[in-house]
Symmetry: C2
Subunit: 359 residues, 2 copies
């Protein structure tokens, strides 16, 4: 009884390391189904293939290698699932847990929705962890979400000997894509774990492959991003790229960006998302004036596009994004899971409205 | 214009360091109003004074020195507020941001409620940060929340020369206390920042001084905690101490704990809170059996107390705590801000119901 107690105690408050005696057979994750990449014909775990990065700013080129929004879907009847993931480097952010920066999340399809199972704790550049055991052994579909702020060098899924590990049921593989272009908030800073970045929440709730093109400190509406976006065969583009773009940059860049994207993709709806309102601007009068200028310029761009007859362009105001209790961020700027759940629900509604006329 | 752009850019995505030329006058925080401590007659920033720790388990003695739930209230007409906080040691958790472990939060009274202003980023054991500037210079009340998982050695509030810094308006100092005894979840792992632990959320929403007696990996219903709880002149006791207590421990300890507390405090209501349901138990059949036993034993204790005629004891089921989307935790066990907001709303309702008959 003593031993039982100690084992349970360890289970409760430390990550679950599982039974070391079991033998796992590993398969490379890119032999299963990898979602969330611009280019699918690659074995790299980076959002944008290096060949497509040439005309983009240096920061975007660097962050594009981080696996934000990428996820792997598979099915197995194994009673235990182990993940082996290697990072180029463990990164650290002051406003985000290491498990979101460097770790992984496991979800399972419960017959109706993707349900959270467990999180993979990062300890070093080379991590192995039994994510779950004592499953019932039925064939089920699973999905893992990759690190938000680290570069994944290798990723393997392990299942018990004499069980099956294969690509997922085709019904659970989205046939259409949605691309979201934005800042660190889009990338997923400061989610608590990889699956809680808002594009990843949406990817579980809606039948689309979401391509996360959020870049920390970047996403500044440079014109070449229009060509990259157009390269993605998306059913919808979401432009959440105001937070790092100065008011005069929004004024100069938003209209060329959107009209070029519209020229390259005449039929595809576009959702423009204002910047979340920074909490400090409610107190610091100088910040209030500066920050509001960004959204003002974005709104003017939208009004101009509408006045010129552009159609299928939707606009989400900052007032709809974060709730009204001022508690949705970790630092006044970056949404926590509380904020990400709120922004997800709003954007989900707009996605449905913008896609509906086409279906 | 170039300089302006660079300044704005730095403001947007780095912590706001403010204007170095301003001269700040500092005052020790314990000369203002410190809330969240069992013993008020001390200049230490620890929840339980060392003299009161003797009969408690070693882990509780250790964690009691962490400033979880402690907060300082003051008023000033300064246009800038700077905080200087010294830690014994910077700590690291894999499932929680450093700003929640080691940092601070600033809130301001907006006339109706405590509203978030900014977070203090921890960089070392000795941190100074301008939390806000360009305030309007009106006399206002402010409140800072201290680190959840670190020991604060010293804390000073700085305001600009020729301005006032003093204890807060008496109307904003609660005259009654609520004590919450529990696990790491009560302590506040894995809030995104100090103010988002659920006892701290409640302390802003309700006019009580909340004493956070949550202890990571502990809170196992040892009998001496009843005497410590009874020492606090509380209007309500909340017992959220199931998560780390094994089923057989709950069976052995819950009844003696609660009946002793009731004997020492015959009139004070008690709210018993079940453990949050661990997400892994929905998948791992062995964990399901083990974890459910904890709440089953707690419920049996409640039923026994009711059958024996004990009154003013309230009970919150696990089904009311986390929502039903399985997204409220960082690791299957520890609530994120999303989960903390949900559990706060439920417990707030029970607090109002249990206090109402006495008022």
């Amino acid at each position: 009884m003593k031993t039982y107690s100690i084992v349970l105690l360890l289970c409760l408050l430390t990550p679950y390391l599982g039974n070391a005696q079991e033998n796992f057979i590993f398969k490379k994750a890119y032999d299963l189904k990898v979602l969330g990449r611009v280019s699918e014909d690659t074995s790299h775990f980076q959002r944008i293939d290096s060949a497509d990065l040439q005309n983009l700013p240096p920061a975007v080129q660097r962050y594009a290698k981080f696996s934000a929004g990428m996820n792997v879907v598979f099915k197995t009847d194994s009673k235990s699932i182990k993940i082996h993931w290697k990072l180029k480097k463990m990164n650290t952010l002051w406003n985000m847990p290491s498990v979101a920066v460097n770790g992984i999340d496991l979800y399972g399809w419960n017959g109706q929705e993707w349900q959270y199972i467990s999180s993979g704790r990062p300890n070093s550049e080379d991590n192995q962890m039994i994510m779950v055991e004592n499953l019932d052994g039925k064939m089920r579909n699973y999905r893992i979400f990759l690190p938000i702020y680290a570069e994944v060098k290798d990723l393997e899924i392990g299942v018990l000997e004499k069980t099956t590990l294969s690509p997922p049921d085709t019904a659970l593989v989205p046939s259409s894509k949605i691309a979201i272009y934005g800042s660190s908030i889009t990338q997923g800073i400061a989610a608590s774990r990889p699956g809680m970045a808002y594009p990843s929440i949406l990817s579980r709730r809606l039948d689309f492959d979401f391509i996360n093109l959020g870049f920390s400190g970047s996403g500044k509406m440079e014109l070449p991003i229009a060509d990259l976006l157009a390269k993605i065969p998306a059913q919808l583009y979401i432009l959440d790229c105001v937070p790092n773009t100065l008011p005069e940059q929004v004024k100069d860049r938003a209209y060329p960006l959107i009209t070029r994207l519209r020229m390259l993709k005449p039929e595809i709806p576009i959702i423009m998302v204002e910047s979340v309102k920074r909490e400090i601007s409610n107190w610091n009068s100088a910040m209030y004036t500066r920050v509001n200028g960004q959204n003002d310029e974005y709104r003017k761009t939208f009004d101009k596009l509408v006045a010129e007859g552009y159609q299928n362009i939707y606009y989400i105001s900052t007032s709809e994004l974060m709730g009204d209790d001022h508690e949705a961020t970790v630092d006044g700027t970056h949404l926590t899971d509380l904020g990400f759940m709120r922004i997800s629900k709003t954007i989900e509604r707009y996605i449905k409205d913008s896609i509906a006329p086409l279906q």
